[in-house]
Symmetry: C2
Subunit: 223 residues, 2 copies
């Protein structure tokens, strides 16, 4: 008897974490429906990378242009006019990279998509390194959002964040064990041809590769 | 000493309930920041009515065009190709007027707007008549969404649905007691010059006026 593959909606940014999660879900036998959001990040490079990966894997990929919501959430370096700090993540420079209510907004759309497709699971790649910095990556947030997703529609949806208690290095270790090619992921906050190697996102990525004893296959301006 | 007015974000559809809530909040001394969403309802009439009211009251009104999210939520009569049923609301014809995860999506955007403005309260006009039909109007949903809004951002937001235990007639009674002119609200699901008087939304509105012993000041095709 044939059984159909389980299905999952995945918020797929094009970054390392959701790239790893995409491949893990596929390795577990899921048919994955990735959705990417353009919410006014100052470049579309990570979305291009995400689209290339989905095309190569022949996945039905939704790229949703949310720039029309900018008048509501425009107090942020990622979506506004301020410069992105070229430094490590820290509470001081975190505040200006914070998009108001970002994860609740993106998750509610992904959950709506799951309801629309009759899919019962919605995944995203929040991880423990985000907890201290972003309130909407904390376990309490994910638990409450999951409870809400169970009762907000005629059909319950389960919200799953399997990296919630892993750090960036541990996620990378899992992906390297799967043999993933991380040149197919994008992390840098700058939108240039090559990753800058200087912004907080690049520094965190390079640090994770160093801790895993691997060289990042991505090309950097500073290499 | 001068004290500044308390502020509130309000999801303002242009319909009777949010029209009543807008005026109640103003009567309570709130500076109101109304936000309306165009999410692919098949006409923009209610948004025009909402914009006129805000212009008249000199309120800063955000109208956010969410039509780009349609590929995620397109299984619905309100946003898709099916006809709206010309009958009373009932579970049978409800399913096709249901937009997947609508309230979670709209509330998460309104909460983001509140965070962005530094406002601690976000209002919407869910009422008891919706409970049986729409899962995302039930008290459990509102309570959980409020808990989530308290912890999803660096700044807590309180979600308030003061009509949650009132029916349409009771809301109308409150608005009539305030002397509101309901010709400035729009309810009909059809997008024509005059309200149809036939769709489930018109029928419910006319029923509420009849129960209050008032004549609806809105013009109807069937009058």
């Amino acid at each position: 008897m044939m059984t159909s593959a389980p299905k999952a909606v995945l918020i797929y940014s094009g970054g390392m974490d959701s790239f790893t999660l995409l491949h893990q879900l596929r390795a577990q036998g899921y048919q994955v429906f990735p959705v990417s959001f353009h919410y006014g990040q100052r470049h579309a490079k990570e979305l291009q990378v995400a689209a290339q990966v989905c095309q190569q894997l022949q996945l039905q990929h939704q790229i949703i242009d949310l720039r029309a919501i900018q008048p509501l959430i425009n107090q942020s370096a990622l979506t506004g006019d301020q410069d992105v700090p070229l430094a490590d993540y820290a509470p001081d420079n975190l505040a200006i990279t914070f998009v108001p209510n970002r994860n609740m907004i993106l998750l509610s759309l992904a959950i709506g998509y799951a309801v629309n497709l009759g899919i019962e699971a919605c995944y995203y790649g929040a991880h423990s390194g985000d907890h201290a910095l972003y309130p909407d990556c904390r376990p309490e947030f994910v638990e409450r959002m999951d409870e809400l997703a169970q009762l907000a529609n005629l059909q319950p949806v389960s919200l799953r964040a399997p990296f919630l208690h892993l750090n960036k290095t541990e996620i990378l270790q899992q992906g390297l064990a799967l043999g993933l090619d991380y040149s197919q992921s994008w992390t840098c906050y700058q939108g240039q041809t090559l990753a800058c190697g200087q912004c907080s996102a690049c520094r965190e990525r390079l640090d994770a590769f160093a801790r895993c004893g691997h060289t990042d296959p991505l090309k950097y301006q500073t290499a």
